[in-house]
């Protein structure tokens, strides 16, 4: 029996680590004693309610606001948001270690081999690993990141498109390309068939189809789309002899470099700690201050949290759906899951509101109270 009580006491003491050391020294033993007094004789571990009670009050105490009911929730939210954004920024830094895209000649040789035809002159290669409207990001086009066009900031690629009438059966092209990739050491995904055009009122069986699949070898990632439609489609307008209907396209991008993971993890940890401690500091600074100052900081902070969370709430489900519906040998960059930089303007505005809230919190107090006479919040 005493061994069971000892085990239970040890588990309560472990939960007490949520409290600051000074508080544990002052109250730790009497809290554990009271828990043991309350526990039935056959209990060996704290209940969920007891654990939540200790964690909640311990974290409030660590934040320096033991009597605030909401401080832990808001501090945790700030910590999570800052962890995610700092992690995303760190992964972007890690991308600087990625290998550059292949040269035009290298890409032409690769695509010609896998398609079984010479594609010289049809290959385009972006000038950087990330581009906005085909150009690397620089001072000249930085303003685009804060405009409605910010979503154009995307991974650079080497690509080729085959247009017009084809002499090769598209199913044969699909099979031969997949076979070539396998022979040359690529890991090839399953094929996803989808309609080439969106039409909700059409007969599904009559719609033209296209095959999508992906392949990966080392840090090379391929996304391929091959039309399964008519080999000799009629021109879009009578009298036209040339038209640009694409029947095959291939994009080559770089996979996430391995440095993304340690950089991302370090960024998440640093950002989480920064968000947690900064919120705690601001919360302590505003505690017991003039009602107007508290109201202003609360409103500014509420605006900041909304503007930070809105891009995540919008982008995360959309990116997840996209990720699940198409083969992806490599994850999309972390910032795209957070709606960045497509909605960077919201993030910047939120950060501005948070900085104003911090500045208001930093205003000097008129006089420090001699004792803690806070009322219950």
């Amino acid at each position: 029996m005493s061994r069971m009580r000892g085990t239970l006491a040890r588990r309560y003491r472990r939960l007490l680590l949520c409290y600051p050391r000074q508080y544990r020294r002052a109250h730790g033993e009497e809290i554990v004693t009271t828990f043991l007094d309350l526990a039935p004789s056959d209990r060996t571990r704290p209940t969920v309610r007891e654990a939540a009670n200790l964690v909640r009050h311990g974290l409030r105490c660590r934040l320096g606001r033991p009597n605030s009911r909401s401080v832990v929730l808001w501090a945790a939210l700030t910590a999570i948001v800052w962890g995610l954004f700092t992690g995303a920024f760190a992964t972007r830094l890690a991308w600087e270690t990625a290998r550059p895209l292949p040269t035009n000649a290298e890409a032409t040789q690769l695509f010609s081999g896998m398609l079984g035809q010479d594609v010289t002159g049809k290959v385009g290669v972006d000038p950087a690993l990330f581009v906005i409207y085909g150009q690397p990001l620089g001072m000249r086009n930085l303003h685009l990141l804060f405009s409605p066009d910010a979503g154009e900031y995307q991974q650079g690629l080497a690509g080729v498109s085959l247009n017009g009438p084809s002499n090769v059966d598209h199913h044969d092209l699909l099979n031969s390309t997949r076979a070539w990739l396998r022979v040359h050491g690529w890991r090839v995904s399953d094929v996803v068939i989808r309609n080439s055009v969106e039409c909700t009122s059409c007969d599904e069986s009559t719609l033209p189809k296209q095959a999508l699949f992906a392949a990966r070898r080392g840090d090379d990632v391929l996304n391929l789309e091959i039309s399964l439609g008519n080999l000799q489609p009629p021109p879009p307008k009578p009298g036209l002899t040339t038209y640009d209907q694409t029947y095959a396209s291939i994009d080559l991008t770089r996979a996430n470099p391995s440095t993304v993971y340690p950089f991302g993890a370090a960024g998440v940890l640093l950002g989480t700690a920064f968000g947690w401690f900064t919120f705690g500091w601001a919360s302590r600074r505003t505690d017991g201050r003039a009602p107007l100052l508290r109201a202003v900081t609360k409103v500014l902070f509420g605006v900041a949290i909304f503007l930070w969370c809105a891009p995540i709430a919008l982008a995360f489900p959309a990116t997840l759906t996209h990720h699940l519906n198409e083969p992806h040998p490599s994850w999309h960059p972390m910032w795209e899951w957070l709606g960045q930089p497509a909605l960077a303007a919201l993030f910047v505005a939120g950060t501005g509101a948070a900085l104003l809230a911090l500045a208001a919190s930093a205003l000097p107090r008129r006089s420090e109270p001699a004792t803690d006479m806070r009322s219950t919040t």
Partner: protein, 106 residues
Amino acid sequence: MREPTFLILAALADQPRHGYGIIQEVAALSANRVTMLPGTLYTALDRLAAQGLVVRDREEIADGRLRRYYRLTSGGLAVLDVETARLRSLATAAERKLRTARPRPA
């Protein structure tokens, strides 16, 4: 004043009590409606001590366990007195209203 705070002050009104004793007394006073956990209790005791309403009385070691007793200060008694009067007044007013709403059958 929140109900748990009032109940803690009420639990300490007649005699000093340790944490477990306060929790039991609070449960008894509220007919088991309020079941306080130690994390909540000691945060409240810290706040009440900072406000000068509660103070440590003595410490005992019983069965190898630390028992720290708390008691009300004179300020705590006064606050409890005022709060009790306020609640009684509210309850009396509410009873009066209820009697008007539900007159006794003749």
